[in-house]
């Protein structure tokens, strides 16, 4: 089976216009630089519409979207139940001087749903909640140092960046300590070296860093980390912005059998409606209530209504089981397609957020070629980041994906006769 290749004339024209007015044309992770569009010519720039598990670009090319807006699209673009709830709320009120009662309803739902949650604090982006989590830990412990896991990503606030990033000064990161994933002895050593100075340990539930195979927690890892943090009075923060509600609706800490003190949610919380939440244990509730931390749109009612509908629907459809099943089918299909063409595809991480890497060279160049060939054929995948499953993705879409992947592998194979 072979597929027609996309062309991007209108995308490119729009990008040229964008570059006149917008830094970089498209900045950040949704742009060609940070988005690792390699080669740039293989990727679309702007979407024209989105529905279910698809988006269409300005040239009318359709893509089965495995990035899901980098996570928010958990039920499908334009999910009728979520959007109906949001639009119904919009008719009533949205951004008002005092908050809508929807905020309370949403908090009640999260506390009922998330195992570790005794309370919920709402904001807009994942980074709002990771920053609040760090501030809360420092306010509670009156300590300043934070332990990060190497390869981390917790947003874009200066404290989350590295000393060599533009605009970051050494003081922004001078209290950051680093340890390798799954390395309990190193964590114990680091804590001993900084005895009495550590406010928090922050980590994603498993290592889903970019450019590297994703790594699940070793047996007992999280339980040991929990034990150490409790012993040492260190606040345990789980950044569940990316994985939240895709592994387990009770939280990814529950998925791996432990309880965080603070847990950060965003992406899948409201199916694309803009809201994030920090949830936490009772002993931190008083501290967080005293924080000077708020924003103009943080108590808008429409995203709360969307969030309530989203969480309820995820529960009703047993979404996490479905995501695991669909992710597993994609994983198996892609690995087989690679093998059929003499390639070795490594699929790592949780199936609901699978990460891809062709292991046939040590430079990722073959991998990037294959990803580009997939994108040109209408499957939106990336060469550097984990992917996301959504409810609207059908089993026909999955078969289409595998067929496209096979055609893309054939093309890469043909383009590299030296590998034969």
């Amino acid at each position: 089976m072979s597929f027609e290749l996309n062309t991007y004339a209108k995308n490119n024209e729009a990008f040229t216009r964008a570059q006149q007015l917008i830094p970089g044309g498209i900045y950040g992770h949704q742009g060609p630089a940070e988005g690792c569009y390699i080669p740039a010519s293989a990727f679309p720039r702007f979407s024209a519409k989105a529905q279910g598990s698809y988006f269409w670009d300005l040239d009318g090319n359709r893509f089965v979207d495995y990035m899901c807006g980098y996570g928010p699209n958990v039920l499908g673009y334009g999910d009728p139940d979520v959007d109906a709830a949001a639009l119904e709320q919009l008719k009533i009120e949205n951004c008002v001087t005092i908050p809508s009662y929807k905020m309370v309803e949403f908090a009640e739902l999260l506390v009922d749903t998330v195992k570790t949650a005794d309370w919920a604090f709402f904001a807009k982006n994942g980074g709002d909640t990771t920053t609040l989590a760090i501030m809360t830990a420092r306010a509670h412990t009156h300590k300043k140092k934070i332990i990060f896991v190497n390869g981390f990503y917790h947003g874009v606030a200066p404290w989350t960046q590295k000393i060599d990033y533009p605009g970051v000064i050494p003081e922004d990161v001078s209290n950051n300590l680093y340890v390798d994933w799954n390395d309990v002895p190193a964590l114990e050593k680091l804590i001993a070296e900084n005895e009495g100075e550590i406010a928090a340990f922050i980590s994603t539930p498993y290592m889903h860093g970019n450019f590297i195979d994703n790594v699940l927690p070793e047996d007992g890892y999280w339980q040991k980390v929990r034990e150490i943090c409790t012993q040492k009075g260190i606040v345990l923060i789980v950044d569940d912005v990316r994985c939240g509600f895709r592994l387990n609706l009770a939280g990814s800490d529950a998925h791996y059998g432990f309880e965080a003190d603070l847990i950060c949610f965003c992406k899948a919380l409201a199916n694309g409606w803009n809201v994030s939440a920090l949830c936490g244990k009772e002993f931190l509730k008083s501290t967080v209530s005293g924080m000077s931390y708020t924003g103009s749109y943080w108590m808008s009612a429409v995203p709360f209504a969307a969030g309530i509908a989203c969480i309820n629907k995820l529960k009703a459809i047993d979404a996490c089981t479905e995501f695991r099943d669909k992710g597993t089918k994609i994983k198996e299909g892609l690995i087989a397609a690679a093998q059929n063409n003499g390639f070795h595809l490594v699929v790592s991480g949780e199936p609901a957020l699978f990460y891809l890497r062709l292991a046939d060279d040590d430079s990722l160049m073959l991998h990037q070629e294959w990803i580009a060939e997939c994108v040109k054929r209408g499957i939106f995948v990336t060469n550097h980041h984990n992917h996301f499953i959504n409810h609207a993705l059908s089993y026909e879409d999955i078969q289409f994906t595998i067929d496209v992947a096979e055609d893309a592998f054939r093309t890469v194979k043909k383009n590299h006769p030296e590998r034969a």
Partner: protein, 252 residues
């Protein structure tokens, strides 16, 4: 935010080191580098870099460390060496006196010739050949400066420590190329295109390279349009970009 010691490493290996390329590319420079017998100048900076610049048969070669030299120039500090690069007189020694003829009549004009290519006037750049040589020399200087920053500057060392091992190809498509060899967080620049890089950053043309060096175009925008192509281990290139940011600071 500029570290004097790192600046000295850049001035020695990246700036004076570009004399190698000047002699290859500019006949006038090759003529100035002609000596009846080889002359080796040792630059010995206390608490800083040391290297030997050898002139032989119209060519120039820089090697790290001080070998058998005709002229041994000792500098009491990186700051003193940097001052000489910025135009102050070199320290006087017996070797300097004995080779004054070469230093005054050949080395100083060579340095000035290099400066004219490194800091050209807009009129000079209208000449196509001059433009090409000037941009190539700038490219060589930047390529070497990258490694000096990676190995010496405190923030540069952080970037280097996070760069996976292997070769990075740093190329201009229709022009020169360099290989940045990374091993255990240390960088080494080879002034030639590599055979088997793990990551490639390539400018589409020498004209674009010049525009980037002169800050006339936006690098991010060029990545978006594919005029700068990047492939391979992007985490290597990510760190290379952070080092490039600091090159601008030191070579401004």
């Amino acid at each position: 935010m500029v570290d004097t010691r790192t600046q000295a490493y850049i001035n020695l290996f990246a700036v004076l080191g570009t004399l190698e390329n000047l002699c290859e590319l500019v006949p006038e420079a090759a003529e100035l580098a002609q000596t009846p017998k080889p002359i080796a100048i040792g630059f010995d900076v206390k608490d800083g870099p040391a290297a030997t610049l050898t002139f032989k048969d119209g060519k120039c070669r820089m090697e790290p460390g001080i070998g058998k030299v005709s002229v041994h120039m000792s500098f009491s500090s990186p700051a003193q060496f940097n001052a000489m690069i910025d135009g102050a007189n070199p320290p006087i020694s017996l070797g300097v006196i004995l080779n004054m003829n070469f230093l005054l009549k050949q080395f100083t004009p060579l340095s000035k010739l290099l400066e004219s290519y490194m800091r050209p006037t807009p009129e000079q750049l209208e000449d196509e050949k001059f433009f090409e040589v000037s941009t190539t020399l700038m490219f060589c200087t930047i390529s070497v400066a990258l490694s000096q920053i990676a190995n010496n500057d405190e923030i540069g060392k952080f970037s280097a420590a996070h760069t996976p091992d292997g070769d990075i190809a740093f190329n201009i498509a229709d022009g020169p190329g360099a290989t940045l060899r990374v091993k255990d967080g240390r960088f080494l620049t080879l002034k030639k295109k590599g055979d088997n890089p793990r990551a490639i950053m390539e400018f589409e043309s020498i004209k674009l390279a010049r525009q980037l060096f002169d800050n006339e175009v936006n690098a991010l925008g060029c990545i978006g349009t594919g005029r700068i192509s990047m492939r391979g281990m992007i985490n290597m290139l990510d760190n290379l970009n952070r080092l490039l940011d600091r090159v601008a600071l030191y070579l401004a």
